[in-house]
Subunit: 159 residues, 2 copies
């Protein structure tokens, strides 16, 4: 089994979207994925890309992705955010997740950010232990808040 990590190319976006959808099915929200292959191609590979993506290949087939972009901390300036770290179900336990995370940390260091952040669901104890072992701070007192499209419209209707 030959495992390799590399930067994603525009022609990988179909495989990338398949992994995004696989995760959404696993999280029981398959209908939540509104992004298309065309969106990913346009947004990731234009003149000012909105994200940067790494893929892991097993015998030349894409079996994992790490998708990152910059955020802005009012304390630290430009920081890196890991939006998705996905390994195909059939390839779990083969170290792909670690290799992808290694690549993300190397990338963050290379572009000179002072922080790399991501989010984790609090019942995923094995993920939390993995991240803490890697030196990350799982901030259990900070929650993610989202206002979705419907919420935005409802909010505006009350102004």
């Amino acid at each position: 089994m030959k495992i390799s990590i590399r930067e994603a190319k525009i022609e990988d976006m179909n495989a990338v979207l398949n992994l995004i959808k696989e995760l959404a099915v696993f999280e029981k929200e398959p209908e939540a994925v509104e992004v298309t292959v065309e969106d990913l191609k346009r947004d990731g590979f234009g003149s000012s890309p909105k994200f940067h993506c790494f893929v892991s290949e097993v015998d030349n087939k894409i079996e994992g992705i790490a998708l990152v972009y910059r955020r802005y901390s009012t304390w630290k300036g430009s920081v890196l955010h890991l939006e998705d770290l996905i390994v195909s179900k059939s390839m779990r336990g083969n170290n792909l997740g670690t290799l992808l995370l290694d690549e993300v940390i190397k990338y963050g260091n290379q572009i000179g950010v002072k922080r790399i952040s991501w989010e984790v669901i609090d019942w995923n104890q094995s993920a939390i232990e993995f991240y803490e072992k890697k030196g990350a701070n799982v901030m259990r007192d900070w929650d993610v808040v989202q206002l979705d499209e419907k919420g935005i419209k409802a909010y505006l209707s009350k102004l």
Copy 2:
């Protein structure tokens, strides 16, 4: 008392940084603010700004800020993130926070994002109630994870 909301100008960054620092002192981490006025000027007002900022003025003095930037959701595409919503301690209770949040939601709608996100500390019950009343989903099961500069270096030293 005359309250107004407007987009921040480059010359406001000194007042903006003062509010950022005031919040850091309140959160007992004053030394965590590494960003300088020069950073904010360069990062917010160059040819590709890293953030967008609104200020609220009371009698022409800046007493609140909302700082946002785009993130990328693999489900929704381009989304908006509210990094900081700060109102000076002396002006709390004067509706500045609501007016700033209104402006952020209007801005998100205007640029066509399908989601606006932010983070909240889980013991801030009044903030959580305020956000939920506004229709936001406070995802108590999702935690924020951070690897800081020291953590990045330590991580890399083990590779």
